[in-house]
Symmetry: C2
Subunit: 427 residues, 2 copies
């Protein structure tokens, strides 16, 4: 097997771990001959716990793409555009294979980059970009290659899952748990990419494109984060035997969304806690496959980067998005009328006669059928909390109901609406 | 991409589904050109729900290996030896790729067949042989290629898992549930391969060989089935917050066993019910990956067979057991002294003074430390049921204790001993 020379751009925790594994006399190469030739990072003198002696250093990562002696560029800089995109584009144009963990770049520029890789007949792999250590992309692209995928459901952001799991386990409010997560380094100082669902949306866009054979479209993913989840929602969900998870859901020809959902405790995904990620694929003829594993971290992510490198060294190739780019279809646009789900509604209302009747009249007019209801008063308060779950209805109907209820004088606060995922739907 | 011509031997439910999918104008081929050329089965005239017009028929499957126009043999006859082995051996010798679901054949003859495939430079793939629709072998061989595996834990037999799940859910005894499973077609008329753990042991031998880079050894797998599991054991396990599962466990350099175990309910695998299978891989640097999915059935198994065919058509190759056969090591032999676990012990003892003291004296002499104990008497009986869980100890010590207790005059029935798997062990 011919030697493959590698250049790594970016030596953060993942880049450093990848370099270290490539430099150790190792099992990690699995019979291949991968050789780290050059690296680029911001700080040449940082102590990374291992020596880069004998490895060429570049201050400018873009220089790696110009080196004739490098076969594979590993891009671990990050950012959807800028240097990462310049490096990857020029590397592909120069006929080099590219391995990256950059989901933002793939979510925004994946189609153009896939066309470039296809033209140059090189590999563009990004297993490390989705679900950390879980080989979710290989699973879909190769393990389930004979299947017609109908739905992909995932817990795709470890930080959000950690926060929701902690809120569920301890009953503490969101802000508390976020602050602790930031202190412990589980959450960034600016956590918005994680907790607003953007990071998960990048990953869901990739999963949908690969799973359904579509031109990748980040814009097609509706995105709602977890900032508004109250500890009361988590407690009520538990009373109805559900757990609140930030779920990415992609349906063939249907919705692409990242949103906090109530998922039935009888579904395996409801039990994936902490920083773990999960991917659940529904498909014919396999029916259903669930995978879970660590969603981030140096080791799990380096495992994914290295598996891509080993695939390239073994000449195991596949089209970037499962089929050739000319066969990729446009992502569908789905109206709210066609997004059918069960819903959870929580609101604070005045504690006076006739309110329940007014609410149910509004729901009835919109053809929304209530499955269960729970009313809980507080001592010495003139408001009560009302929690309802509905039968299947459209997002359009729920949004109309929400707008009408918000205007009613008896509603005294925000109305929380969340989708419900039952186990019989997902199995 | 060149056309690959296929011959299928065996048209049972899996063979028929595979043929049907290959013949349909399909998504199933994923951009490849797979062509079903010939088939062989016992009954030419069986109604399979689709037409085999234009496909050559062979009464003797072995003739398929001699055809120059066939590139890939799909062996779905079954049985570790006999026609299946003859066909596969001669197909490999003739330079044909082989795809099979035959775990018994691979468990017994996998090393010799891998050598043959390697010499001939052809693929020998058996994804469908292990964990049904879960692409567990691809996961380990490629998805985790950079990892050093330390342990593999699996629910590898759907029939046993169905029976234990039903016993757990309903409190019914083993014989009742087995009879129902046989009636419904979930269990064979002779269910011994499934419920005595032999089928799971075949699969575990394959997982261990691939995961640890070893010469496959079915004999190295210790095997205990579920016939002796009493509904009382299931109930007691529940009281201690465990679930009883038939688990295959392989540790690097350590034990290979298929046995009913108590697994902590805080582990994901405890919640995999019915005919589902699960595979849990612990490895560095990825840490842990869990997968679950349907363990059998026409669709899931055909999904695995077809993914192997698509890999071959895409020229995605890898050594049969992950590394070349000359690098495979011998499977370790592990003494009972080195098999460390927590244990569950249930026994019926005379209800008289001093018994507890006698039992604990025996355990103390063998350095076995009791973690928890539960004694339950029955009205009007002169015996009580005693259930204990121990801290970590060796299988050797437990077997000695069991032998000494069995001889004691106050023990009035069989002593049930089961391993306990805690979540902090498996995460």
């Amino acid at each position: 097997m011919a030697q493959m020379n590698i250049g790594i751009a970016g030596l953060g925790v993942v880049g450093a771990k990848t370099a270290q594994l490539l430099l150790s006399p190792l099992h990690a190469q699995n019979g291949t001959d991968l050789s780290l030739r050059a690296v680029s990072a911001r700080n040449k003198d940082a102590d990374r716990g291992f020596s880069l002696d004998g490895i060429d250093w570049h201050d400018d990562a873009r220089e790696l793409a110009a080196r004739d002696d490098i076969d594979i560029i590993v891009e671990l800089i990050g950012g959807s555009d800028g240097i990462a995109l310049e490096l990857v584009s020029s590397a592909l144009r120069a006929g080099k294979h590219v391995v990256t963990a950059n989901k933002a770049m793939i979510a925004h520029h994946g189609f153009a980059l896939a066309e470039l890789a296809e033209t140059q007949n090189v590999s563009l792999l990004f297993e490390a970009g989705v679900a950390g250590g879980i080989p979710a992309l290989k699973l879909i692209r190769e393990g389930l290659a004979a299947n017609h995928l109908t739905r992909i459901t995932g817990i795709l952001n470890g930080t959000s899952n950690f926060i929701l799991s902690e809120m569920t386990a301890t009953g503490r409010p969101f802000a508390d748990v976020l602050a602790e997560a930031q202190e412990k380094g589980f959450a960034e100082a600016d956590p918005s990419f994680d907790i607003d669902g953007v990071d998960a949306a990048h990953k869901l866009a990739i999963l949908a494109a690969l799973g359904f054979g579509e031109k990748i479209s980040f814009d097609a993913v509706q995105c709602k984060g977890i900032r508004a989840i109250d500890k009361a929602d988590i407690a009520f969900a538990g009373e109805f035997d559900y757990t609140i998870k930030l779920l990415g859901i992609a349906e063939r020809g249907g919705m692409r969304s990242v949103q906090p959902c109530l998922i039935s405790n009888s579904h395996a995904i409801a039990h994936i806690n902490g920083a773990m990620n999960a991917v659940c694929v529904e498909a014919e003829p396999v029916n259903i496959i669930n995978c879970s594993g660590p969603g981030a971290g140096a080791g799990p992510t380096a495992s994914a980067v290295l598996s891509d490198l080993i695939d390239i060294a073994h000449h195991r190739t596949a089209p970037v998005f499962g089929v050739s780019t000319d066969r990729l279809e446009d992502a569908p646009e789905i109206s709210a009328a066609k997004q059918i789900s069960k819903f959870y509604i929580r609101m604070l209302v005045s504690d006076r006669a006739g309110v329940l009747s007014d609410i149910t009249a509004i729901l009835k007019e919109l053809d929304i059928s209530v499955e269960s209801m729970l009313q809980r008063g507080q001592p010495k308060a003139d408001t009560v909390t009302l929690v309802m779950t509905t039968h299947q209805t459209s997002l359009e109907a729920i949004e109309k109901a929400q707008a009408r209820l918000a205007k009613a004088d008896f509603v005294t606060g925000n109305i929380m609406v969340l989708s419900i995922i039952d186990a019989n739907e997902l199995r």
